[in-house]
């Protein structure tokens, strides 16, 4: 078994000692570890990740007397990866975890991590792709089998650039486009919209791969579909406004979206494993876990793994009100799932009744 971990270096917490130091004085050694401006620039980064919570990617900090950049929540100030000290610190972080035995990272928010638009000296800054290639080379030197699995939700031509042109960058990129088209095909009961995108999907460079997935820890984003297509998926799999998030996605897991229809759920996972790409599962998918819409926002799909049907954390609903988990499918936890003859895990142990 090999283990990789999330590398979240686009931003830190606003409570992080670096940021606390940075905001305290323009002379702080950490001031330039974040992105500060006197006035939000017109040509700065566009697009707000959480439009229900934030109105700008810039927030004025009283202590600093300047605005700081935050691609995500205002309590997550973006690190300035154009600063060589920040780059070195990220490399040190990677080196530390590799030394503990990790075999790579899932790199969070890659395009946001690398962006330098809006910074005063953006024109003079080194190409961000060189930086990603440097990180990959560093990883390779420290761990020959190491991988970088990147979160890049962009149209294919742009995503392809993150595999690297002359030098290797990401080993794998999540296939967000194929994933979204799969849901459109599921909603329509018609394979064509998925087939169309699979015919056109570019081939990653040698030894690089698409990472295919059905669900992840965020909302099921449908942002790359047209408004009409997105509405079709909403109507099929999340008609209730409470199931929708940011106007672009569904805070649901697959089994509940498919109404617990085992044939249909099996078909989707069979597709995941047979399409070209490295299949990636989100915890809980092995046992057919559902979401808990009582939890706020994205937390609906981040409830504890249902290890057992007994009361306590990770148990099924009603039994642990302080830590609610819910599965609307027949599966009620891993231990039950492996012993029930018709459960999602068990039936797949038996070729005769598997999908």
């Amino acid at each position: 078994m090999r283990v990789i971990a999330d590398l979240v270096v686009n931003h830190t917490s606003d409570q992080h000692p670096w940021f606390q130091s940075a905001r305290s004085s323009p002379d702080s050694p950490y001031r330039d570890w974040y992105v500060w401006v006197d006035e939000p620039p017109a040509d700065g980064p566009q697009g707000i990740a959480f439009p229900d919570q934030e109105t700008s990617v810039w927030t004025y900090d009283e202590a600093a007397g300047q605005y700081y950049l935050h691609r995500f929540y205002k309590y997550q100030p973006d690190l300035n990866v154009a600063n060589p000290q920040v780059r070195d610190e990220i490399a040190r972080t990677i080196g530390f975890w590799l030394q503990l035995g990790l075999s790579g990272f899932r790199v969070d928010a890659v395009p946001f991590l690398l962006e330098t638009t809006g910074q005063d000296d953006a024109g003079q800054l080194p190409d961000p792709h060189d930086y990603l290639a440097d990180l990959r080379a560093f990883l390779g030197r420290r761990c020959g089998e190491g991988v970088l699995l990147g979160e890049v939700n962009l149209p294919y031509p742009q995503t392809m650039t993150f595999f690297g042109a002359e030098r290797d960058e990401l080993t794998m990129c999540f296939d967000f486009i194929g994933m979204q088209r799969m849901y459109l095909s599921l909603a329509r009961g018609n394979a064509e919209s998925l087939a169309e995108v699979l015919r056109d999907r570019p081939e990653p460079p040698k030894d690089a791969h698409w990472a295919t997935f059905v669900r992840n820890h965020d909302e099921l984003t449908l942002d790359k579909l047209t408004d009409t297509q997105r509405q079709e998926v909403f109507e099929a799999f999340g008609p209730d406004p409470e199931m929708q998030l940011y106007g672009r996605g569904l805070r649901r897991r697959l089994p509940t979206m498919l109404g617990g229809d085992r044939d249909r759920i099996r078909m989707v996972y069979s597709l995941l494993f047979s399409l070209p790409g490295t299949p990636v599962l989100f915890y809980g998918e092995e046992i057919g876990m559902g979401e808990d819409l009582r939890a706020e926002g994205r937390l609906a799909v981040r409830t504890p793994m249902q290890w057992s049907p007994e009361p306590g954390p990770g148990s099924p609903p009603q039994q642990s009100p302080s830590c609610p988990v819910r599965s609307r499918t027949a599966s009620t936890g891993l231990s039950a799932s492996t012993s029930q003859p018709r459960s999602a895990t068990r039936s797949r142990c038996c070729p005769g009744c598997g999908c």
Binding site: S185, L186, R188, G189, N190, A191, E192, L194, A195, L198, R199, D261, D263, R264, R266, M267, Y269, S270, L271, F273, S274, L275, P276, T278, P279, L281, E285, E286, A344, T345, S347, R348, C349, C350, P351, G352, G354, C355
Partner: protein, 103 residues
């Protein structure tokens, strides 16, 4: 899920094979094939809620080939011209491995 993972491991075509979408002659069905030097897997998936059939024409295959189910015990005969018409249950899915010399 265990079956899928085990089957995936047993099918190097799925990890390394060339890949092509195959016309399924049926809008509800996605058919694709994965080819390596050593073998071919054809996968068919029914997105529809009704049982159906796909109508595939598989280049390079003929009546000497048999398509054997990887996930179950079934199989499909191939016609002289490479035509195959695999049946699919509602939301059915099949991985079919090409076996040669079944004349």
């Amino acid at each position: 899920m265990r079956l899928l993972i085990e089957s995936y491991r047993a099918c190097p075509e799925l990890a390394w094979g060339r890949y092509a979408v195959v016309d399924a002659g049926n809008a509800a069905v996605l058919a694709h094939r994965r080819d390596t030097e050593d073998g071919t897997i054809v996968a068919v998936h029914n997105f529809g809620a009704d049982p159906t059939k796909a109508a595939l024409k598989l280049t390079g295959l003929d009546a000497s080939c048999l398509l054997k189910d990887v996930l179950t015990n079934g199989s499909e005969r191939v016609a002289k011209d490479g035509s195959v018409t695999p049946e699919l249950a509602r939301y059915g899915c099949r991985w079919l491995r090409v076996e040669h010399d079944h004349r």
